[in-house]
C-alpha cells in the first residue's frame, strides 16, 4: 500500500478532460470513482473504463468468509480500491477499540488498498451503539481524544487514514467551535489528510446557516486528497417543527455540490480522488455514469479556471 496517495494516482486517463493543466506536475491525475455496492456490481464491472477508483465499505468485509475476501482482492486487481470505515468512532474522548483496529489492519493487509478512510464521528459511548455516525461535541477535549485515536489507528494499521467530515441533523451539543475551526483543529494536529465530503458540508451549511465556501476557503486544501459526493432529501420534525436536509445517499448529487467541487478543483493544487456515494434507490446505471461525467466536468472547469488565473 502506498501512504502518499499523490504518488499513487498513476491511473488510466485517456480522455482529454483527464489531462492535467500545464501548471500541475506530470504525475498529477484526478480520479473519479464510485462507492462499491453489490447492487451496482454489474454496471460497475461493465463500465470499468469509465471508473477510476472504487471505494469499498470496509465494515462489510471484516467478518466474512475467505471467498468474499478473495472476491474483493479480485476487484482490487482490476481497479484501485479504497477501504472506507464507518464503525471505529474516531472523534471521541473515548479510546478507539484496538480489537476493531486490528481487524481493519488484517483486512488492509489482505486487500492492499490504495488507502483507507474513516469519519470524524463518534458511534458509541457508555456501552451504547448509536447505530450511525454522530457528530461529536466540537471541543478541545474531543480534538485531543480524536488525535490520540488517529495516532492509535496509524500505529495499528501502519497507515494514517483519510478522515471525513460528517453530516449532522443536530447542531452538535456542547460545541465550542464552528465546522471550520473543528476541521482545522483536527487537521493541524495530525498527519492525516482530509476526505472532504461536499454533500455533508453542503447539508450542514444549509441546516445551520453557514456558507460551505467559507469552510473551503479556511481549511488547508493541500491536505484534501479525497472528495465524496452524494445526495439527500428534506426531512421534517413532526413534534418540534422545522426541517433539515438529510444526507441519505439515496438521491442525485445536487448542482450546488458540483459547484463546490469545481471550487475545490479551482483552489487546490493537489490531485483529487472523487467518489460518488449511492446507498439505495439505485437509478439505471446510465444515470450513475452521467453523475461521474458531471463530476469530471466540474473538476475540469475548476482546473481550467486555475490555469487561467495562474497563466
Amino acid at each position: 500500500m502506498k501512504k502518499d496517495t499523490q504518488k499513487s494516482y498513476g491511473l488510466p486517463g485517456t480522455r482529454e478532460f483527464h489531462q492535467p493543466p500545464t501548471f500541475i506536475p506530470h504525475s498529477f491525475r484526478d480520479c473519479i470513482g464510485l462507492g462499491w455496492r453489490p447492487q451496482l456490481a454489474i454496471g460497475i464491472l461493465s463500465h470499468l473504463d469509465q471508473i477510476d477508483i472504487l471505494e469499498v465499505m470496509a465494515d462489510d468485509f471484516l467478518d466474512v468468509p475467505a471467498k468474499e475476501i478473495t472476491a474483493l482482492k479480485t476487484l482490487a486487481a482490476q481497479r484501485p480500491v479504497i477501504l472506507h470505515g464507518v464503525s471505529l468512532g474516531m472523534a471521541s474522548t473515548h479510546r478507539v477499540e484496538a480489537r476493531r483496529l486490528e481487524k481493519f489492519a488484517r483486512l488492509i493487509e489482505k486487500v492492499k488498498p490504495e488507502t483507507w478512510s474513516e469519519h470524524l464521528a463518534f458511534v458509541r459511548a457508555g456501552g451504547i451503539e448509536i447505530g450511525h455516525l454522530a457528530a461529536p461535541p466540537r471541543t478541545a477535549s474531543v480534538i485531543d481524544g480524536t488525535l490520540s485515536n488517529l495516532e492509535t489507528a496509524r500505529k495499528i494499521t501502519g497507515i494514517a487514514p483519510f478522515i471525513e467530515n460528517v453530516a449532522t441533523l443536530i447542531d452538535p451539543p456542547g460545541s465550542r467551535m464552528n465546522e471550520a475551526e473543528w476541521l482545522n483543529g483536527i487537521v493541524n494536529g495530525c498527519e492525516n489528510d482530509l476526505l472532504l465530503d461536499l454533500h455533508n458540508l453542503y447539508a450542514n451549511g444549509v441546516n445551520f446557516d453557514f456558507d460551505p465556501l467559507g469552510v473551503i476557503s479556511t481549511i488547508p486544501l493541500e491536505r484534501v486528497g479525497q472528495i465524496h459526493l452524494a445526495g439527500g432529501k428534506w426531512v421534517t420534525a413532526r413534534n418540534q417543527g422545522g426541517r433539515r436536509l438529510l444526507d441519505d445517499h439515496l438521491h442525485d448529487v445536487p448542482e450546488p455540490v458540483f459547484t463546490l467541487l469545481e471550487e475545490v478543483a479551482f483552489r487546490s493544487a493537489r490531485s483529487l480522488t472523487v467518489t460518488i456515494e449511492r446507498d439505495g434507490a439505485f437509478p439505471p446505471f446510465v444515470e450513475v455514469l452521467r453523475e461521474i461525467e458531471a463530476a469530471r466536468r466540474a473538476i475540469a472547469r475548476g482546473r481550467e479556471r486555475r490555469r487561467e488565473v495562474s497563466a
Binding site: D63, V64, P65, S92, T93, H94, F122, R124, A125, G126, G127, I128, E129, I130, G131, H132, A134, P136, P137, T139, A140, S141, V142, T168, L169, I170, D171, P173, G174, R176, N207, V235, A237, R238, N239, Q240, G241, G242, R243, R244, L246
Partner: protein, 91 residues
Amino acid sequence: MTSPAFEAFLARLYTDEAFRDDFLDRPEETARGFGLDEKEIEELERLDLTGLELAAESFSRKRLWKEKHRPPPKWKRATRRILELLGIARA
C-alpha cells in the same frame, strides 16, 4: 469541556426514547441524574430540539436497517456450509 460522560449522555439521548422523553420533561434533573456537571447541564439548555428529534429518528432507522441486514453469525454459516457439503442444503 465535554467529558466521556457527556458523550455517553448523548448516545443515550439519541437512542433511548423513554430517556429522551424524560429529558424533554425534566432536562436538568435527567442530566444531573446521569452525572453531568453544571457546565454540561448548562450546555443542554441550548439543545437543538428539532435536530434531536430528526437525528434520533435517523439513528433509529439505521439501527433497524443494520439489524435487518446483519450477516448470520459464523456458527450459522459453518453449519450451513456443512449441510451444503452433505447435500442436505442447496449451495
